[in-house]
Symmetry: D2
Subunit: 164 residues, 4 copies
């Protein structure tokens, strides 16, 4: 009965235009695949845009919020989980996702990828430079997937889910 | 866009037959009202039965799990949020619910009602003795609603939502 | 090597004069016994006064703070643990204490006693009415100790520690 | 009254001999400087050895443990904070430290440095390769200090504390 949840992690205020374009498309394709989208839930950056993308394809969206109220939640989030855990909620983001996709990078995202690696969670890196790729590859020789496009990210999710 | 979430809290292994009967009916009526059911997600007691009730009416069910994996999740949970926070996840249960319903009592449930009171969250007590009612009434003169039946609980949720 | 930590829980802004008088004396006697005092760390109510009492007897004081900075920490706290977990930090308060003493009552305190009961932690109730005593006695027939004075609380801590 | 806490982060089971040698010396010098040592508290790797180093110089040691009991706590930990938060406790590690020192690297350490950067916490990297240094330098142009020896780490802590 448990549904498949795909987490999309990425910067908030610091997200680039390219990250946001990718995040929208990721959200859209995740919804089209019948999966639930999980993000950090705030109304900025990758979280906001990925959720919009998922809603554009009639998907279901979960936002795991850092504060103690729904203030600042994206309007494209259906299910707001209010944690009051600050950035410690990043651990919930990755543990609750069947597969984690990092769309761009930032300090919060880096903590999420690190925590995902620590939990042996399959993790996909999209739109990162070779230095970042090499850093996380060294941390996780086996559960890290480096992709070059949104489409390849989705294909990789399908392969990971088929394997598990 | 944010959907209404109603939390049903109650004992796991220690739930009484009466609590379980109420929990099933609560889940069913919550789903019929178009709300999402949130529980502690485990496959025992009030959590399990409330989720089954909601699924019997084609509702959507969220389980906020204490462990670091989905082990022990109820099969009637659609969306498993994996917190790895043990009983500290009880705070997430209440903060994420628009209204909290306590169906019976236990140590975990008592912590949830207390945390709900602390967060000024509207909370409904169902199927509790007068001593328990009096204890929580004293803690929360204003946000605590004491009801005598599942139907009255649902009517009370509607009144609370209409007011907010 | 691990030192003995005694947790004193109680209301912040809502603490009564009687609670505060007891809390000061508890802190003092805990320090004199050579134990470390743990509280919720804020500069109000039982937390503040218990920490002052412990410092008056040259004790060591730990404060487990709810916020993401040391703002609002009691000046009588030596070791500030910054959790950024809001009231979910109450679970850390009780898990980290060898014995928990509730000095008065409030919603936060009620959550702490409930979480202590859930964790099978020895818990002492001081200065509570018979209704409150009866409520928690029912939740915990075995690990709850009801005392009438600060001195009896300390004697009870010693008996619990001797048993474990 | 609040005492200075210096956090030493590093791998557990995966710590190298070099990391452990550095960690012992860090613990020793932190204690000699009159600061409290904070680690993840477990009885392996950098956590264990740093705590031993601090105790060898009569320092005070705090361990922030991931589990719900003191199982697996280092015998060189004086104050065991039991979080039951799994790796989400890493956020507490960095928020509670006035300065964070990463001694070597691993997935957990990477999450701690990332969370420290996110919280604008002064962070020192010791014994890391240039790739790792460059990755975190990019995340934190301003609060990251890269050092080549234990002595330089301690000098850097002093400079940071003097500035704040």
């Amino acid at each position: 009965m448990r549904k498949i949840i795909i987490g999309v992690m990425g910067a908030g205020e610091g997200a680039t235009a390219n990250d946001c374009e990718n995040a929208y498309k990721l959200g859209e394709l995740i919804a089209q695949a019948g999966w639930i989208l999980l993000t950090g839930g705030r109304n900025v950056g990758v979280m906001e845009v990925a959720s919009q993308g998922a809603k554009s394809a009639n998907g279901l969206t979960i936002g795991i919020l850092p504060g103690n109220q729904a203030d600042g939640v994206s309007e494209a989030v259906d299910i707001a989980i209010i944690t009051d855990m600050g950035n410690a909620r990043n651990n919930i983001n990755v543990l609750s996702s069947h597969v984690v996709i990092a769309c761009g990078m930032g300090a919060g995202t880096a903590s999420e990828i690190s925590l995902a690696v620590k939990a042996n969670k399959a993790t996909i890196l999209l739109n990162n430079d070779t230095q970042t790729q090499a850093f996380f590859r060294k941390l996780s020789p086996e559960n890290l997937y480096i992709v070059e496009s949104v489409e390849e990210a989705i294909t990789t999710v399908k392969a990971i889910l088929a394997k598990n």
